[in-house]
Amino acid sequence: MDRLLRNLLIVFVVLIVLVPIGLLASGTAYGEWSADELQGLVGFVPAGIASLSGLWHAPLRDYGLRALSDTFLGQSLGYYASAIIGAVLCGGVFILIGRALTRNAPKNEE
């Protein structure tokens, strides 16, 4: 493997190892408040937020498993699993797309 790619992969693995650092920030990002948080902020829940916020039930909501969300260790495990699943899916999609697009195009090989 090419040296650059190998080194970038090493950095990427280090990032994954460090990913629970992202759990330490406990606040909510601006404009991403839950209905309860909005109730506290503006005193009411806008009708659209009340009706649309439950539109989709993501299987790994907030990058974790609900069963593991009580302890930092459990949250970290869920966060690790999420990072790995997300990275493998993102990477996998492009390996497949890349193979499909470059398979019959020898003119692109340089």
């Binding site: 992202g22 759990l23 920030a25 990002a29 916020s53 470059t102």
Partner: protein
């Protein structure tokens, strides 16, 4: 910057999907035409990197949090159209599997993070770096400023999209149906937090990674070869 479901009304979220459809189609065509097999592992890594870097939430004064996006770096290294596709895929997986960013708001989130960041960052970088050597300090600085500018401008767009909701969508009595805060609050809030905190993080990541890649293997960098050929001059004539 991942706008959830319920914060944008149908006028805005439908409009943002309509804006995104031709952009996605063109980006797909661009990729089909320009992708080289050598770049495929870098694309895979770019999408995975975007996904993971967005998990590094950083707290800021005032109790809010945020993160870098990584799409400025992808735009500068692999080209802005590649960043459109890799960031959109990362955002789609975040939305569907992890509930980060709404399904209705997916078009808007892709516009802000997968279009505005890459293009603003790429053109900012190109303008500042001019015709300097690929390994020059000016280019590292240009990459950092591009990253900062991309994230900050995108935050302004997200603030604008959210802040127009009380004007566009409300009950007969004027009660907001979606995002309750108006432009005067959302735009400064988004601009401030990204200009002073998350944008700086994006700048550092972009500059460091660019500097390293430019010194290690500049041939992977978007447009690098074209610049080299221009400099070399007359070996363009090879009748096919």
């Amino acid at each position: 910057m991942h706008i959830p479901d319920g914060y944008l009304g149908p006028i805005t979220y439908v409009a943002m999907y309509i804006v995104m459809i031709p952009i996605w189609l063109y980006a797909g065509t661009w990729l089909r035409k320009n992708l080289k097999s050598k770049q495929v592992p870098y694309l895979a890594l770019a999408a995975a990197f975007s996904f993971v870097i967005m998990m590094f939430n950083v707290p800021i004064p005032g109790g809010s949090t945020g993160h870098a996006v990584g799409s400025a770096l992808v735009a500068i290294i692999l080209g802005p159209w590649v960043a459109v596709v890799t960031t959109s895929v990362a955002l789609l997986i975040q939305c569907l599997l992890f509930g980060d960013g709404g399904i209705t708001a997916f078009g808007a989130n892709c516009f802000n993070m997968a279009v505005v960041i890459p293009f603003v960052a790429f053109y900012g970088y190109t303008l500042i770096s001019r015709k300097t050597e690929i390994t020059s300090r000016r280019r590292v600085l240009a990459a950092g400023i591009g990253g900062w500018l991309g994230l900050t401008v995108a935050a302004g767009f997200a603030g604008f999209e959210m802040g127009t909701q009380p004007i566009l969508e409300h009950t007969a009595d004027g009660v907001p149906l979606y995002m309750p805060y108006g432009l005067g609050i959302t735009v400064p809030a988004m601009l401030f937090s990204h200009a002073f905190f998350f944008g700086i993080l994006e700048a550092i990541i972009t500059a460091l990674a660019f500097g390293y890649i430019a010194r290690t293997d500049p041939t992977i960098i978007f447009n690098y070869k074209r610049a080299g050929e221009k400099k070399g001059g007359v070996r363009t004539t090879s009748p096919a």
